[in-house]
Subunit: 501 residues, 2 copies
């Protein structure tokens, strides 16, 4: 096969695989937002059939042949080489992991999820321990199949953050943890709590919905190519570049949950809508990693949405949407968006302590995969780390080790992408500021397009042309580091609490 | 291959094909009700990929081998024989019709639809004539591929109403037309119009929605296994027995559009929810034909929903839902549900004239397929038939031959299923009344379950175990005929207009 034939064949076959992924995304969105309860059994069957078809397509000899030809002939660093590298992530998984193991993992995930729900309800880790052990063991086997003799945690990371390595993440996370812990401690020990009463009020759902849509539209989310629906857990799914669906939830007594949820998901959505149109249906047309995805959501949620400039612009709209809410001005509003308070539950954590929650999980899941920690010792390790990093010790497993769904779904190596994204958000935002000037002044004038254009140019349009570390370095001029995130957090705690170390 | 192996293989392979069909149904529902406008291009690609996979699955030699073994060994009249017969409908199509022709038809449909929209807007048939000619020609080729030397119209009917034949339908439709035309003429000539002002008022959308849901729930539609959403054109789609989705639309000034639309779709939905659970994923687990489907929607819409008994029960709910609507009692309401008035547009036609609209189309599409009518002579033939059957002559093509989407989608042989269903509804309802006694008294007491149980037992639970003619005869004791429909229409026109002939 010559290169141009191989490339055409690759493109055709991959287009079909990409369609199956899109269909799977739609089924998932539908299940979370629309499907009647009775549909669950037939839906599981539909999903399994699609998975089987995708697996078969990834195992097709003609695809492998086309990929091999492309790999041999594509110049290093070329677009085609990037396509092959990215495609191989999925192909390798389909080829190297035995179908029986894949099925076993799928079943263990279903079982794990159900047991986890019961265990969390009963706040009883022992109920879940057996299932978790099995999931860890199956993932170890999967890692061994993917990279015989390699680092098991790296193989797991690879599924969410291609190119990331435990050895690279370790110093990065250690640096953040080392510098963040004393900052949080200082706030706890020396600072008074912020009076949050102005954030409490009566916020009707339909008005929150209209207000959040207005914010999402203002920052550039295109509702002709997307939607916003209610769901239990907010998420964003890019079925296609022009069919990007976000979900939200709300607290009728506090506007912050919905507003920052929607800004967060809008960040994901803007990334999906900005992926390279000319690469549609090819591997490079997809988002590069969960960490980079999270960098976009965190950037819009935190660096834009929690800024003074943003609220100078947004407050008149806020007052119009919620005429009965407590009167606030920007100076009074701002601290409400930057409170720091150690708490047990990650998803309710503030922007400073959040990364310490992740640090706990990063420590533990690495140790689990490396057999340095036994599942039965997990609760104690968890509680110790919370005490050490956050100064609080969970009183039960539901508020502790059982709080997250991820491990119950057999997802190890997922948590670090949250902190990678948070670091990258700060670093990208700092770089954009250097290029564009006074971003806060733009926000205050309701001008978000320059920032979006910058992200389109430096992040979105590349899809997965470069792996995440290279993408961040190209966009910001330096490798990913914790510095900009720390600087941002120091500045906000200084302003809100008068504490900077 | 022995029979039990063949049967198991057939079941496995068919289960996957059925899943692909369900996924396609979900994509269609989503496109009509949820998809953002921008998603249309990527959606078309997803649909085409799924179609390709389905086509490949239907062409798989192992499926054909399994089917052949089953066909040879299954006793005549057995369940397995019915499975094979039903499966063969889809398999034959995939095998006998060349892929190139299928693709050409799909393209011509897309092109036809777009041209038809423009032609209808301009009320200019000439714009559309070329495309229609092509569609007729392609369908003729398809018919020849499906049944070389056979009757082309039969091959078309087969796609929607398996087992139906032009030669059988012809006398049935002629009988109805012959007896219905003078009845309608008598109403026009001798009867005064019904004063419909009590049906006009202010009907807020949310209250119509709540009222319609209440009606659908009362007659037995299970919302734990279904939904009701807004769309431009109401439809019902059974993604799975426990995931049945209906849509509706409303007129803010007249409650009848929404109420009878939802009762109609609920009839479809009850059928889908009542299909045999133990045949899920097998051909017999699906609805047998469009005609039988329509019999269920028409039965609940007309024979239940337009009855005095129903409104004796429903009126208190109606008054509660629409406290500001004009005051009516059952005697005043009833004629509003049975007005007869010849009009140009089929979808707005009353229950008596509706079948004459279908008669026009049945005449014309048979003549087109048989080359007895040229596309260029279509408008005149159409207008002549309207004058002959309904006493009115369309003033332009938009109100005439261009009004329906069906031919633009290349669907010939579809229209008769509407009248087949309407006849079957009357015949089934009469049979149910003989078995169950005073249905009107039950409806007045809000008791719809006995009728639903009867339909479950005599229609729904059989899926496509028997073809439509046999199913109707088994359920009612006689072959399908126009008599019960005519008796019903005579009775209502007698009561409303004092006209019975």
């Amino acid at each position: 096969m010559d290169l141009s034939t191989a490339e055409r064949r690759f493109r055709e076959l991959w287009g079909d695989i990409r369609d199956l992924i899109s269909v799977g995304d739609l089924l998932e969105w539908d299940q979370e937002t629309q499907m009647p309860a009775g549909g669950v059994e037939s839906r599981a069957k539909m999903v399994a059939t699609l998975e089987g078809l995708k697996h078969r397509a990834l195992n097709a000899p003609e695809l492998h042949e086309a990929l091999d030809t492309c790999a041999e002939s594509a110049p290093e660093g070329s677009l085609l080489a990037a396509q092959v590298r990215s495609a191989r992530l999925d192909v390798d998984r389909a080829v190297k992991v035995p179908a029986s193991l894949t099925r076993e993992i799928a079943e263990a995930r279903v079982g794990g999820l159900e047991t986890w729900r019961r265990a969390r309800e009963a706040a009883d880790f022992d109920l879940f321990a057996g299932h978790l052990e099995k999931l860890v063991e199956l993932r170890r086997q999967e890692a061994a199949a993917l990279d015989p003799g390699g680092n098991a945690y790296d193989a797991m990371l690879h599924l969410f953050e291609p190119g990331a390595k435990e050895a690279d993440l370790e110093p990065l996370f250690a640096d953040l943890r080392e510098k963040l812990t004393p900052l949080v401690q200082a706030v706890i020990e020396r600072a008074p709590q912020v009076d949050e009463t102005p954030a409490a009020g009566d916020f009707p759902a339909d008005r929150q919905h209209a207000f959040c849509r207005r914010l999402a539209t203002a920052i550039g989310f295109d509702f002709d190519s997307g939607r916003l629906d209610l769901s239990t857990h907010p998420f964003c799914i890019g079925i296609a570049r022009q069919d990007v669906r976000m979900t939200w939830r709300y607290d009728p007594r506090d506007f912050r949950s919905a507003v920052f949820g929607v800004l967060h998901e809008s960040g994901h959505g803007l990334y999906e809508q900005g992926l390279p149109a000319d690469q549609r249906g090819m591997p490079v047309g997809d988002a590069v990693s969960l960490g980079v995805h999270e960098s976009q959501s965190r950037l819009w949620e935190n660096h834009v949405g929690r800024s003074r400039g943003f609220w100078s612009w947004a407050l008149p709209h806020y007052r119009e949407a919620f005429p009965d809410a407590p009167e606030v001005d920007v100076d009074r509003m701002w601290p409400l968006l930057h409170t720091v308070r150690p708490s047990f539950i990650r998803v309710e954590a503030d922007e400073a302590t959040y990364n310490l929650h992740i640090a706990v999980r990063f420590e533990i899941e690495r140790a689990l995969l490396a057999r340095k920690l036994e599942v039965r010792d997990l609760p104690e390790a968890w509680d110790d780390l919370y005490e050490q990093l956050l100064g609080i010790r969970p009183e039960n497993a539901a508020d502790g080790v059982l709080q997250d769904i991820h491990w119950a779904q057999g997802m190890f190596g997922y948590f670090p992408t949250y902190t990678l994204g948070t670091m990258a958000a700060a670093q990208l935002f700092a770089a954009a500021g250097r290029d564009l000037g006074d971003l806060e002044a733009m926000f205050a004038a309701g001008e978000f397009q320059p920032l979006l254009d910058w992200l389109r140019e430096n992040v979105h349009r590349h899809g997965s042309r470069w792996q995440a570390p290279e993408l961040i370095e190209r966009a910001t001029g330096s490798p990913l580091a914790a510095d900009d995130l720390l600087a941002y957090l120091r500045q906000t705690t200084e302003e809100v609490y008068g504490v900077s170390e």
